[in-house]
Amino acid sequence: MAKKAKSRTIAVRLISMAMTGYYRTLIRPRAHRPLSMMKYDPVVKKQVLFLEATKGGKNK
């Protein structure tokens, strides 16, 4: 049986670079480059850089 086709988009997690543990989940096209943006972090109450986290970081 043929494998199920991968979806065109994936959900990614953007982590606050203020190291507060705050993150946002966004959906981007699979083929797109990793996301990064300035967003508000409510813990430090400021706009900080959010970077997309690579998956499976724990084991690698």
């Binding site: 203020a18 190291m19 996301l35 990064s36 850089l49 970077l51």
Partner: protein, 200 residues
């Protein structure tokens, strides 16, 4: 003759429980007054380890500075000679601890009775004696269960790790303007190399 009469009346006035106890453990042999003098710390007799079943190793919650087998004035009060067994203390025999002849509750009862009739000095050394309690209070001060003095508090994980987490956050926020500048310089993430790893 008169003295013996006085003694007789004193004994008559004592409750039967105390009389029986003194008959079984005569004060001239067992009482705290005639026991071996308590070894002082600076004397040549300094036991490296005062053995006691009341201080087992499994007790991990002890006060941080307290030595489990060290010399303390209160522990020295309970050291009695090997030949005459103290019915109020556990006894090591054939490598095993034997329970005291009188448990702590019975000791407390006897001690209260003896204090009432003013003959508590005739009882053997006990953890329930006024002398022991006062010495221990002098040693420990306010280290009473429930006051928190001399106790370690584990706390929640968020409380234990709070300091290091705040420090990490502070460092990150210090480096944030430089990071944002680099990010803008590299085409808003196009040339970015150090993507964070997802930890959970």
């Amino acid at each position: 003759m008169q003295i013996s009469q006085q003694v007789t009346t004193l004994v008559d006035n004592l409750p039967k429980r105390l009389v029986n106890f003194f008959a079984r453990y005569p004060p001239q042999i067992h009482s705290a007054a005639v026991r071996r003098p308590a070894p002082a710390k600076d004397q040549d007799y300094t036991p490296k380890k005062v053995e006691s079943p009341y201080t087992p190793d499994r007790d991990a919650k002890g006060a941080p500075g307290e030595k489990k087998f060290g010399w303390t004035p209160s522990r020295a009060l309970l050291v009695t000679s090997e030949k005459v067994r103290n019915p109020f203390l556990p006894h090591k025999r054939y490598g095993k601890w034997e329970a005291p002849k009188y448990g702590l509750r019975q000791q407390a009862d006897l001690m209260k009775l003896a204090i009432k009739y003013n003959v508590d000095a005739l009882l053997p050394p006990s953890r329930k004696s006024i002398e022991f309690k006062q010495t221990r209070r002098a040693e420990r001060g306010l280290q009473v269960k429930g006051t928190g003095v001399g106790h370690k508090v584990k706390g929640h994980k968020w409380e234990r790790t709070m300091e290091s987490r705040l420090e990490e956050r502070r460092k990150a926020m210090e480096g944030m303007p430089e990071m944002v500048r680099m990010w803008k310089q590299r085409g808003h993430g196009r040339g970015w190399r150090q993507w964070p790893k997802r930890s959970s």
